[in-house]
């Protein structure tokens, strides 16, 4: 009971400190700015009258289909003689992916889909900015020493993890609301009636995607007592894992599975039209987050503070 109360207190303190000290506000501002910039990027071709909405939909469906096919079907890429992925899609060889791209871009509000897909890439790099000092900052300044005689180490870590999660989820709600409002103003043809339910679906995808990446930030923050090192470790591993897996895969294909050290290997499934795949990807996100949280707990409980 006391532990639950302490976890709640640490979470509230983490959120209020982050907002009042300005770092949380700066983080929210930065993320919304990036989110709106991405939305603006998606809108620009239409604004500049380079393409019509229909043409953009068509080309986006192709581009997203190719990107998804490249990400998910690299293993079957050896039979190049059958033609490029694009031509395979056009020939109906990759019906599932074609349907997926169609589902994302044509059946649902296209620009919101594109924005959220881009966010799925950008968010993992942004989230560490909100969590890298959560533990390491207090360890560096020894402020944590005022807490240790009063509360358990696990309460501190879980409380701050929870606070970071709530902050990140609130941020995603702000972000999607602002993107939806922005898009409905810029492209009136994308009606709010279509945008809002789809935004809810996108929120769920980003909600689950947040869990492993915030947990990774907390793990690095609990491992490194210098905040800047914790930040570099989080961002470095987030970028490094896909780059490493792609380059090592060239040497030996199974090394491509390194991609699954982080959610990069399955995160796109969070927006799949197939419900079972969404559930599966969400479960993987939860498990990944849990694994990072347990590792952070083990590290923090044994650390000299």
């Amino acid at each position: 009971m006391n532990k639950t109360r302490h976890i709640g207190l640490h979470a509230i303190k983490m959120i209020s400190h982050s907002m009042r000290s300005g770092s949380g506000v700066a983080f929210i501002f930065l993320t919304i700015l990036i989110g709106l910039s991405l939305a603006n990027l998606a809108v620009t071709p239409i604004e500049l009258e380079l393409v019509t909405v229909e043409e953009l939909q068509d080309s986006s469906a192709r581009a997203i289909g190719v990107a998804l096919a490249t990400a998910t079907l690299r293993a079957s890429d050896e039979d190049d003689n059958q033609g490029t992925l694009t031509s395979r899609m056009e020939n109906g060889d990759l019906i599932d992916l074609g349907m997926w791209a169609r589902y994302l871009v044509i059946e649902n509000p296209m620009l919101l889909s594109i924005t959220v897909l881009l966010l799925g890439v950008v968010l993992p790099l942004l989230l560490p900015l909100g969590s890298f000092t959560v533990i390491s900052g207090d360890v560096q300044h020894r402020t944590v020493r005022y807490l240790l005689p009063r509360t358990s180490r696990s309460s501190i870590l879980i409380g701050r993890w929870l606070g970071s999660m709530i902050l990140a989820w609130s941020l995603i709600i702000f972000l999607l609301c602002s993107v939806v409002i922005y898009l409905s103003i810029m492209i009136p043809s994308e009606s709010l009636e279509d945008l809002i339910p789809w935004a809810g679906r996108c929120f769920l995808a980003l909600f689950f995607l947040t869990i492993p990446y915030v947990s990774l930030g907390i793990l690095c923050s609990a491992t490194f007592s210098v905040p800047m090192v914790a930040l570099l470790a989080t961002v470095g591993s987030t970028i490094g894992v896909p780059l490493l897996s792609l380059s090592l895969q060239e040497a030996w294909e199974p090394l491509g599975n390194l991609l699954y050290l982080l959610p990069w290997g399955y995160s796109h499934e969070l927006l799949s039209p197939t419900t079972s795949k969404v559930v599966e990807a969400s479960a993987y996100c939860l498990l990944h987050g849990l694994l990072f949280l347990i590792l952070a707990l083990l590290k923090f409980r044994r650390a000299d503070l």
Binding site: S21, T143, D304
Partner: protein
């Protein structure tokens, strides 16, 4: 289950930082209440021992039993210890009141009683005017006082204070000492300090750490029993002959003079102990026709410390 007789029991404690041995073979039992001093040269291991008792560092070898718990950092100890770490700092961008209220909430004190406790404790350390400000405006001394205040927020049974009066002006240092005396009536206060004269008047027991080893522990009388220093003031300047005559006494180990004052180290280890040594000294002074205008105990703890740490007393201070 009966309450343990000792608040803290340390057995065969060892701690290393890499290959450097910071503490070795520490065995120490500390009472349930009173004020215990922890002294030793810089780098002797005082802060390491504090950090191990407080649960900041993990115990590598040996045991520390605290208030019946088998090791530091147990959930059962939460809120029962108050710690003033030497180098911790409060968050600079949040008001001190908010930070104290947060700590009080963790101690289980909320609402109006938490607020009144925060104001009361800040008044005790003379910082009531700063309570609505951020910690960034505090001077070094104020930060120390705030550290002491937070360690005594709840009702801790053990209080660890790492150099609480270092850098404080005499009035504030006195205020903190009085506070410690008051707390020491109901709780165990462990305090480290380099001001041995200050400690001697304050503490009931002392532990001396040198090179990671506890070389002496017990009551101040026990630690200083063999060597007691007295300061004697005369109505006339001290002459070389007086020094020679006093130095020749069996009970006198060494003697130094400064104008109208003599600093005499007595050997109180004889059968009749300190009383006999003092009688012999005073008789000699009367015989010399130079009665003492004032005779008071000097820095006995410092003298014992110097011997235990093997530092020559005439070593110039840094």
């Amino acid at each position: 289950m009966s309450e343990p007789k000792h608040s803290i029991q340390i057995e065969n404690l060892e701690h290393r930082f890499g290959t450097k041995v910071a503490l070795s073979d520490i065995n120490w039992r500390l009472p349930q209440k009173g004020i215990v001093g922890l002294v030793g040269p810089n780098g002797a291991g005082k802060t390491t021992l504090f950090s191990l008792i407080a649960g900041f560092l993990r115990v590598q070898s040996g045991k520390i039993k605290i208030l019946g718990s088998s090791s530091p950092g147990q959930a059962s100890l939460a809120g029962r210890m108050g710690v003033m770490p030497q180098d911790a700092i409060f968050a600079k961008d949040i008001s001190i009141l908010d930070q104290l209220l947060y700590l009080l909430k963790l101690d289980g004190i909320t609402g109006a009683s938490a607020k009144s406790r925060a104001f009361e404790i800040m008044k005790r350390v003379g910082l009531e005017k700063e309570i609505h400000r951020g910690a960034s405006i505090l001077s070094h001394g104020m930060g120390k006082r705030l550290g002491v205040a937070q360690s005594l927020l709840g009702s801790p049974e053990i209080v660890l204070l790492d150099e609480p009066t270092a850098g404080l002006d005499p009035a504030n240092a006195r205020q903190i000492r009085e506070f410690m005396r008051e707390v020491g009536k109901t709780a165990l206060v462990i305090v480290s300090s380099h001001n041995l004269l200050e400690l001697q008047d304050l503490i009931d027991e002392v532990g001396v750490i040198v090179d990671g080893k506890l070389v002496a522990s017990g009551t101040v009388e026990e630690v200083t029993q063999r060597d007691r220093r007295f300061e004697v003031t005369f109505g006339v300047p001290v002459t070389p002959e007086m020094l020679v005559q006093i130095d020749q006494l069996d009970a006198v180990q060494s003697v130094n003079s400064d104008s109208y004052q003599m600093s005499i180290d007595l050997d109180a280890s004889g059968e009749t102990g300190l009383d006999q040594a003092l009688l012999t000294l005073q008789q000699k002074l009367v015989d010399l026709g130079t009665p003492a205008y004032e005779l008071r105990e000097g820095a006995s703890l410092e003298q014992a410390y110097m011997k235990l740490t093997s530092v020559p007393e005439n070593t110039p201070e840094e």
